[in-house]
C-alpha cells in the first residue's frame, strides 16, 4: 500500500512537471527561418543603461539599442544619425537639425525634448559619461526638431564621443522613474538597468545580468538595415578554453577575444577563423617623474627618472621588435606615439628612438648610474593582451643594461587601485594601456601627458606626473583650432616635445584585435573594437 502511494505520488509529480513543460514549451520554439546571432565575450554586460559605466564593451553593445545624434561609419568617420545636419553659428553656438519621423521602440516620437532631457540625464549623479556634454554647456530647444548647444569655451571636438551618448525618451524615462542614470547608492533597483527603449536597430528583449542578454531586430528602424539577423543572443564566457571550444563546436558564431595560443587552432578548424586587426589602444611604459625620491628603488635622496638621460636609456634598452615577434606572436604594431596611426594623420613622420643597448649603457653612466640601479615595476596581469609577459620581457631587457627590476604583477582590480589617484599614484615604473575615447590626440594630452597635481587634478591618468607647461600650452592651442590640418601640425610639435625631447613615456605598441567568427558570419571590425550588430550578415 505504502509503495503504491509513493508510486502514485511520483506519477503525479511527473505529470505536473510534464504539463509545465508543455505549457512553456511552445514559447521556447523559434521560427525556423529566423537568423540568430550567438555572440560571446569574456566579460559581462553590466547594465542595459549606457550611462552607467564608461566602458567600451557596455557602450558598444548598448549602442545597438540607443543611438546618438551622430554615429561612426566602418571607416570611423562621423556620419549623421539622429541629427541629420549641424552647423556652428559661431564657435560657441552649435545648431543641430534632428531627424523627423523617428520613433522609440515603445512608440514615443523622437523630438528635441528628448535631446534636452538626455543632456540632463547624462549629467545626473549616477552617470559615468558626464564628459559627453560639457558641464557648463546650455542645451536649448529651438523647435521640435532643432536643438542648440551653447558652450562656454570653443570645442571643435564636441561631437567626437557622441556615438556613445545614446538618446533616451523623456516620456518613457519619466513614466518609469528612470530620469536619473543608474545611481550607485540606489536602494531600489533602477528600471533602466534591465529595460531599454532607444531608437536603434535592435530592441532589448531580456537581460539576465551576467547570464544572458537577448535583443531582437527593430522592424520599424528609421534607417535601411545593413544586416540580415533577427535576433542576437549574448552570453558571457569568461573561461578562455570554453569560449574557444564553443566557437569550434559551432555553438557560437562570434566571440572576442581569441587568446594568442589558440589562434592557430581556430584558423585550422574548417568552419572558423580569426579576424585580426590593429586596435587603437596603445600600450606604453611610464616613469614616476614627480616625487623627489622614488617610492620603490634603491636610489635614495633623488629620483633618477627626473633625468631625461635615464628615461632615454630605458627606452633604448627595450627591443620592441622582439616583444612584437616573441611575446605578441606578431599581433602588435610597434608605435612611436601614444596614439594609433589611424587616428593621427602625421604619425608616419615619427619613428621610434632606435633600440641600442650600448647607447643605453652610455647614457646611464653619464647620468651617474654606471652600475644601474634597482626599481620596482607595476604591471597588470589580466587587463591587456599578454600584459604580464610584456613586463617580464622588459625586465630581461633592462637587466642587460644593469637595471634590476622587481616586478609586481597584480590583477587589474588591485593594480588600478594602486597606481591611480585613489592609491596616491603609488608606482615608480609601470605598464599601462590607453585608448583615446574621442579618437584623436587631444584626449591623450588631456589625460596622460597633461600636468597634474598630487590629487589628480589635470592629467588624471598621468600616473608618473610628467609635466611640461609648453606641451600643455600647445595642446590647449590645438583644442581651440577649428582647422583639422593646422590642429594636427600643432599636435606634431607637442608629440615631438613630449615623447622625443622629453622621453615622457616609452610607447610600445598597439595590440591586435582577435575576434573569432564562424565562416558563415560576416562581421565588420572597427579598430575601436566595437561590436556592431547592425553590420552582421549570416549565410
Amino acid at each position: 500500500m505504502q509503495i503504491e502511494l509513493t508510486k502514485k505520488a511520483r506519477m503525479l509529480a511527473l505529470a505536473t512537471l510534464g504539463a509545465a513543460a508543455m505549457i512553456t514549451g511552445p514559447f521556447l520554439a523559434t521560427d525556423a527561418n529566423a537568423k540568430t546571432l550567438r555572440f560571446a565575450f569574456q566579460g559581462e554586460l553590466k547594465a542595459a543603461d549606457p550611462y552607467a559605466i564608461n566602458e567600451s564593451f557596455s557602450l558598444s553593445v548598448n549602442g545597438s539599442v540607443y543611438e546618438g545624434l551622430i554615429r561612426r561609419g566602418q571607416d570611423m568617420k562621423i556620419e549623421p544619425c539622429l541629427a541629420t545636419s549641424w552647423e556652428t553659428l559661431d564657435p560657441l553656438h552649435w545648431r543641430f537639425h534632428l531627424r523627423k519621423g523617428v520613433k522609440f521602440h515603445e512608440g514615443q516620437d523622437f523630438t528635441a525634448d528628448d535631446v534636452v532631457f538626455s543632456a540632463d540625464r547624462v549629467h545626473s549623479a549616477g552617470s559615468d559619461i558626464k564628459n559627453r556634454v560639457p558641464l557648463d554647456a546650455k542645451v536649448v530647444k529651438v523647435d521640435d526638431y532643432t536643438v542648440d548647444f551653447i558652450l562656454k569655451t570653443p570645442n571643435p571636438l564636441l561631437l567626437n564621443e557622441w556615438e556613445t551618448w545614446g538618446i533616451f525618451s523623456k516620456k518613457w524615462s519619466e513614466e518609469h522613474g528612470a530620469t536619473e542614470a543608474t545611481a550607485m547608492n540606489a536602494t531600489t533597483p533602477p528600471y533602466a538597468a534591465l529595460h531599454a527603449n532607444g531608437t536603434g536597430p535592435f530592441m532589448l528583449v531580456s537581460h539576465e545580468p551576467g547570464v544572458k542578454t537577448v535583443w531582437k531586430k527593430n522592424p520599424n528602424w528609421w534607417d535601411k538595415p545593413k544586416h540580415n539577423i533577427d535576433e542576437v543572443v549574448f552570453t558571457p564566457i569568461p573561461s578562455n578554453a570554453t569560449r574557444v571550444a564553443a566557437l569550434l563546436s559551432g555553438e557560437i558564431d562570434w566571440m572576442d577575444p581569441v587568446p594568442l595560443p589558440d589562434q592557430a587552432r581556430v584558423n585550422a578548424n574548417p568552419g572558423t577563423e580569426v579576424l585580426a586587426g590593429p586596435e587603437i589602444r596603445t600600450i606604453f611604459l611610464g616613469f614616476d617623474q614627480i616625487r623627489p625620491e622614488l617610492g620603490h628603488s634603491n636610489v635614495k635622496g633623488k629620483n633618477p627618472f627626473k633625468d631625461v638621460r635615464v628615461r632615454k636609456a630605458f627606452y633604448q634598452a627595450i627591443d620592441e621588435e622582439a616583444i612584437k615577434t616573441k611575446v605578441m606572436r606578431g599581433l602588435a604594431t610597434p608605435t612611436a606615439l601614444l596614439i594609433a596611426p589611424s587616428l593621427y594623420s602625421e604619425s608616419k613622420d615619427f619613428k621610434r628612438i632606435p633600440f641600442d643597448p650600448e647607447a643605453s649603457k652610455k647614457l646611464l653612466a653619464e647620468a651617474g648610474y654606471p652600475e644601474g640601479f634597482e626599481v620596482q615595476m607595476n604591471c597588470p596581469n589580466d587587463r591587456y593582451v599578454n600584459d604580464e609577459a610584456i613586463c617580464q620581457a622588459v625586465v630581461g631587457m633592462l637587466a642587460r643594461i644593469g637595471v634590476k627590476i622587481d616586478l609586481l604583477s597584480e590583477p587589474k582590480s588591485k593594480f588600478f587601485a594602486r597606481i591611480t589617484a585613489a592609491g596616491g599614484y603609488d608606482s615608480s615604473f609601470y605598464l599601462l594601456g590607453w585608448t583615446p575615447s574621442t579618437l584623436e590626440s587631444y584626449n591623450v594630452f588631456q589625460y596622460i601627458i597633461g600636468c597634474r597635481d598630487e590629487k589628480g587634478n589635470g592629467g588624471g591618468n598621468n600616473v608618473g606626473g610628467y609635466c611640461n607647461p609648453k606641451v600643455d600650452q600647445l595642446a590647449k592651442e590645438a583644442l581651440q583650432e577649428p582647422d583639422q590640418e593646422k590642429r594636427d601640425d600643432i599636435f606634431k610639435q607637442a608629440w615631438q616635445l613630449s615623447l622625443f625631447d622629453d622621453v615622457a613615456y616609452i610607447p610600445l605598441h598597439q595590440q591586435a584585435l582577435a575576434w573569432g567568427v564562424s565562416k558563415k558570419t560576416h562581421v565588420v571590425q572597427r579598430p575601436d573594437n566595437y561590436y556592431i550588430f547592425a553590420w552582421v550578415n549570416m549565410d
Partner: protein, 326 residues
C-alpha cells in the same frame, strides 16, 4: 531532541557572525570597488563622491556593524556591477547551482556505492583494478582539467554535447527554473555534473570499499555466514547497511562542498549558477554579492551539519541515547 536542535541553532548564529566578520576583513584586501564601477577617465573628484555614497570612507568597525545589521535583516544591498538587488541575483542563480549539485550527488552515489561494493567483494578481479585506477584519476586530476578534456572530446570533437551554458530552462513557480525538463537542458547538465561528481564518486567508492572490507571482517558477518544466510543477504542486508553510517556523513557534508566548490565547474562550463556569479564578483570587487554568497554557503554548511546529525540519530540508535542524555 528539541533542546539539541535549539542549541545547534545558536551555535550556528555564532558561526555565521564569525564568517561575516572574516569575510568583511578579507574584502578590504581585494582592491577598490570604485575602480570597477566607473570608467578609467572618470575624475578623482567623482570617485571620492562615490566612495562617500557607498560608505567606504567610514571607519572599518562602523562598516562591519552596518554590514552585519543589514545581513541580519537579509538585506544585502544592491550589486555594484549589475545594479540589481543581491538577493534577487543570487535567487536567480540558485536553482542552477542546486540542480547541478543535486544531479552530481545522485550520480556519485549511484555510481560510487556499487563500485565500492564491487571492489570490496571482488578485490582481485580486473574490473575492480580498473575501478581503482579510475578512482586515482578522479582524485588526482584537477576539476578544470577534467572539464576541459570533456569539452574537447564531447563538444568539439564529437559534437554530442553543448560546451557551455544551461540550455533552455522551464519556469516552475515564481522563481525556480529547471533545465531538467528540456532536451537541451538535459544535454547541458551531463558534462558539468560528471565533472563535479567525479571527485565525489571516487571518494564514496573508496569509502564504501574501505568500510565494507572492515565490516566483512567483523564477527557478526562470520556468524551470519555460519547461520547459512545467502552471500547476497550477508553482503547487502548486513554488511552494506552497516557501512552506510559513515557514508551518509561524508555524502551529507560533501553536499555542502559540492555547492561551494561548483565555482570551478561553473566557470569552466559557463554554468549560470551562484559560483560563476561569485567569481565575476571577485573580479569586479562586488562586495555585496561576495558577502551574501559567503554567508549563504556558511549557512548551508551549518544546516547540512545539523541535518546530518539528525540523520545519524535516525540510522544509529546508539546515538539517539547520547543526544537525549546530553
Amino acid at each position: 531532541m528539541i533542546a539539541f536542535i535549539i542549541r545547534r541553532l545558536f551555535a550556528s548564529i555564532g558561526v555565521l557572525i564569525a564568517v561575516g566578520l572574516i569575510a568583511f576583513v578579507l574584502f578590504r584586501y581585494i582592491g577598490d570597488p570604485v575602480n570597477q564601477m566607473v570608467g578609467i577617465e572618470t575624475p578623482e573628484s567623482e570617485r571620492v563622491a562615490l566612495r562617500q555614497q557607498l560608505g567606504l570612507n567610514d571607519p572599518a568597525p562602523v562598516q562591519a556593524l552596518r554590514f552585519l545589521a543589514n545581513a541580519a535583516r537579509l538585506d544585502f544591498g544592491i550589486s555594484y556591477q549589475f545594479k540589481q538587488p543581491v538577493s534577487e541575483l543570487i535567487g536567480a542563480r540558485m536553482p542552477a547551482t542546486l540542480e547541478l549539485a543535486f544531479v552530481a550527488s545522485i550520480m556519485s552515489l549511484v555510481a560510487g556505492i556499487p563500485m565500492g561494493v564491487y571492489t570490496a567483494l571482488h578485490r582481485r578481479s580486473a574490473l575492480a583494478k580498473l575501478f581503482e585506477a579510475l578512482s586515482l584519476v578522479g582524485i588526482s586530476l584537477p576539476t578544470f582539467l577534467i572539464g576541459i578534456l570533456l569539452i574537447y572530446l564531447f563538444a568539439v570533437t564529437l559534437g554530442w554535447l553543448p560546451s557551455f551554458g544551461r540550455g533552455d530552462v522551464v519556469h516552475i513557480g515564481s522563481w525556480w527554473t529547471t533545465g531538467l525538463l528540456t532536451k537541451s537542458g538535459l544535454k547541458s547538465i551531463i558534462m558539468p555534473a560528471i565533472t563535479l561528481a567525479l571527485f565525489q564518486m571516487t571518494l564514496i567508492m573508496r569509502l564504501v570499499r574501505a568500510e565494507m572490507l572492515e565490516v566483512l571482517r567483523a564477527d557478526y558477518i562470520r556468524f551470519a555466514r555460519a547461520r547459512g544466510l545467502s552471500e547476497r543477504k550477508v553482503h547487502f542486508r548486513h554488511a552494506l547497511k552497516n557501512t552506510l553510517v559513515p557514508v551518509i556523513t561524508v555524502v551529507g557534508l560533501q553536499l555542502g562542498s559540492i555547492v561551494a566548490f561548483s565555482i570551478i565547474t561553473e566557470t569552466v562550463f559557463s554554468w549560470p549558477g551562484m559560483g560563476q556569479l561569485f567569481l565575476q564578483s571577485v573580479q569586479n570587487v562586488d562586495i555585496p554579492i561576495m558577502a551574501a554568497y559567503l554567508l549563504f554557503i556558511a549557512f548551508l554548511f551549518v544546516i547540512i551539519n545539523l541535518v546530518v546529525d539528525l540523520l545519524y540519530a535516525a540510522v544509529d540508535p546508539r546515538l539517539r541515547v547520547a543526544i537525549h542524555g546530553a
